[in-house]
């Protein structure tokens, strides 16, 4: 930082330099002659003004111009008229123009940004809007082509190919125990019944048994935990005891029948004679997995609702517990994909028939009680406690 004395000295030096330069730069008595006695050719001055001189020629020209006011004036005049110099009287206008120069770009960016923001808002609203509203206005499901979505699509395609192979070449099992378990399940259930129905039935049985035995949550809570057709879930929630009693008595409930009639994609099967219900307390569900023993076909419809078609064979006999210990409220399947809902709007997806789960975006934070696959829109429909239905991206 310059000291005051030094600063004052610099100012004096500036004044002296100006004086000396002006005195030494004064033209001689001839008025036009320089020390060298000649001027630059107009063409060279013009070339200098155009910036076309290089190397020694540029140095020579600069040296001459520094000592020749006439040539320098010519060069400055050319530079001014070539537009390389600002004109002081146009300073304000120039500055105004300079500030206004990016205005079209900014305006365009603003418009584009507004449109994108509006469209993004529309997409978001579509995602969280209840399905009924979407159906009313005929909106297609909002595309979510993020990188995650593309990755999931690839995984699903790959899984679909694996299933296709499995369907054509018979089920593949990782070990003999697994194959035996599946065989047991297949034997226990009629051949045309969806495997997910059997799994669901066992899950219902397990949870209902827990409720009956007093290990489960209170009635209201237990009702919401019932896995079933989302369309009928509200009614089921209102009459949990009745449905439960019916299921225990191996009587096909009205809802189950109605549910089965709605599920067009699943091959309908005649309900075989229900196995005798022992009436004993079922063992509690393991902590990490939902135990899926051979199911009672009579209870299958309660869980098969929303299944868009199962693959014969190859189902695991149990699904893994949801991440974070989230309670499984309802589950649906499409091919070998599974979707499960839980509290706080959590939705989980499994691409390996329930062995592993990952959380997927949810349109709501409400506790979800049912889920179904909508084949018309190829999307998931989830429902909360209040009966509001949302569309979720699979």
């Amino acid at each position: 930082m310059a000291r005051p004395l030094e600063s004052a000295s610099n100012r004096l030096l500036d004044q002296v330099l100006r004086k000396v330069m002006q005195a030494s730069g004064q033209p001689s008595s001839a008025g036009v002659q320089t020390a060298s006695g000649s001027h630059l050719e107009p063409e060279l001055v013009a070339a200098f003004a155009e910036g076309r001189l290089r190397g020694a020629q540029l140095q020579s020209a600069e040296s001459h111009l520094a000592g020749c006011p006439a040539c320098r004036q010519l060069a400055t005049a050319l530079l001014e008229d070539l537009g390389n110099l600002e004109r002081p009287r146009r300073r304000a206008l120039f500055e105004w123009r300079r500030w206004m120069r990016p205005a079209p770009v900014l305006a365009t960016a603003l418009v584009v940004g507004s449109v994108l923001y509006y469209q993004r808002g529309q997409i978001f609203r579509r995602a969280v809007q209840p399905a009924g509203s979407n159906a009313e206005i005929g909106l297609a499901p909002a595309p979510a082509r993020t990188e995650t979505a593309r990755r999931i699509t690839r995984e699903a395609d790959a899984a679909g190919r694996r299933d296709s192979d499995a369907t054509q070449n018979g089920p593949r099992f990782r070990n003999k125990n697994q194959a035996d378990a599946v065989e047991r399940v297949n034997k226990a259930a009629p051949p045309n019944t969806s495997a997910i129905s059997r799994i669901g039935a066992s899950a219902v049985a397990s949870q209902n048994a827990r409720a009956v035995s007093g290990h489960g949550p209170p009635d209201e809570r237990q009702a919401s935990r019932t896995v079933g057709n989302p369309a009928l879930h509200k009614q089921e929630a209102e009459q949990p005891a009745r449905a439960l009693q019916s299921a225990i008595r191996n009587e096909p409930s009205e809802k189950a029948e109605e549910n089965r009639s709605r599920d067009q994609a699943v091959p309908r099967a005649e309900a075989p004679p229900a196995r005798e219900s022992s009436g004993k307390e079922q063992p509690p569900t393991p902590k990490k997995t939902l135990s899926l023993p051979a199911a009672s076909p009579a209870r299958a419809p309660a869980f098969s609702a929303g299944v868009g078609g199962g693959v014969a064979g190859g189902w695991p006999e149990s699904v893994a517990a949801l991440p974070g210990g989230a309670p499984l409220r309802a589950m649906t399947a499409q091919d070998n994909r599974r979707w499960a809902v839980s509290d706080s709007g959590k939705i989980f997806r499994s691409l390996d028939s329930g062995r592993t789960w990952i959380a997927i975006p949810s349109p709501t934070a409400e506790d979800l009680v049912s889920i179904r696959w909508d084949p018309a829109t190829n999307s998931l429909m989830v429902r909360d406690k209040q009966g509001r239905e949302y569309k979720a991206q699979p």
Partner: protein, 270 residues
């Protein structure tokens, strides 16, 4: 083509193509001769790639037009008139000056100034320079006719009685300053001349140099610093104290010193 300079990689053929010589009824030999003149004048030592680069840096289209005009081609003059007549009028600001420049270009004996164009700059800028020169010449000519009464009064150059003591030191300071400025490189001297003599602003100089204003400011500050350091060192070598130098600086800056006389003495003493 009878060229006296080597035809580097068919540069003349390429130059003829670039100049579009058929447009002005100009032969290749005539254009090559004009290029040779330009090379002899502006790049006599160039050879090989450097020569080729120089030739390609010429405004060959303008050179072809000027050469054809100098040869007396009516077609070329028509093109010249179409392109530059209005521009000359606009630049001159009046018809008389523009007509004078055109007359000088054409020449009464057929050897006008247009033949002096060598393609080093654009024809347009060169014409602008000619107009400026013509205006300056006319101004000087008119000035000589101005009566003594209208001449501006010389500013009084009277020194304050107190400043007589510092006169010698101030003269020494001015001489050293001038010598140190002369030691600067050409671009630096030109920068000082633009800033101190012509009164151009930093922004204007920056635009001419094609750099940012702050670059010019830093360069100017560097020059000042260097000059100050050298001047102090030399004056101290001459036996002047730092305080005396500061006093001389103030004297030179504020008192009306006859710097022209000092400069003249310095020039004569060299």
């Amino acid at each position: 083509m009878g060229a006296t300079i080597p035809d580097v990689h068919g540069i003349f053929a390429e130059a003829c193509r670039l100049a579009d010589i058929e447009r002005y009824d100009l032969s290749a030999e005539e254009l090559v001769r004009a290029i040779e003149e330009s090379v002899k004048r502006y790049a006599p030592a160039a050879a090989g790639r450097e020569l080729r680069k120089f030739i390609l840096s010429l405004r060959l289209d303008d050179l072809a037009l000027a050469t054809a005009c100098a040869r007396g081609s009516g077609r070329a003059w028509g093109e010249f008139y179409k392109r530059y007549h209005q521009y000359l009028i606009d630049t001159a600001g009046e018809y008389d000056l523009a007509d004078q420049v055109i007359a000088e270009l054409y020449g009464t004996d057929g050897r006008g100034k247009i033949g002096n164009f060598r393609g080093r700059s654009s024809l347009k800028t060169w014409l602008h320079a000619l107009v400026y020169q013509a205006r300056v010449e006319r101004h000087r000519r008119d000035q000589k006719l101005v009566g003594f009464d209208s001449l501006p009064a010389e500013p009084a150059k009277q020194e304050h009685p107190e400043s007589f003591e510092g006169r010698d030191a101030a003269a020494a300071l001015a001489r050293v300053l001038q010598q140190e400025i002369a030691k600067l490189e050409a671009p630096q001297r030109l920068l000082l001349a633009w800033y101190y003599n012509d009164g151009l602003r930093l922004a204007q100089i920056a635009r001419m140099r094609g750099v940012h204003e702050s670059t010019i400011s830093r360069e100017l500050e560097g020059i000042r610093k260097r000059v100050r350091k050298q001047v102090l060192q030399r004056l101290e070598e001459q036996g002047l104290s730092r305080a005396r130098i500061e006093e001389s600086l103030r004297h030179l800056a504020e008192a009306p010193v006859d710097l022209d006389g000092i400069m003249e003495n310095a020039r004569n003493s060299r």
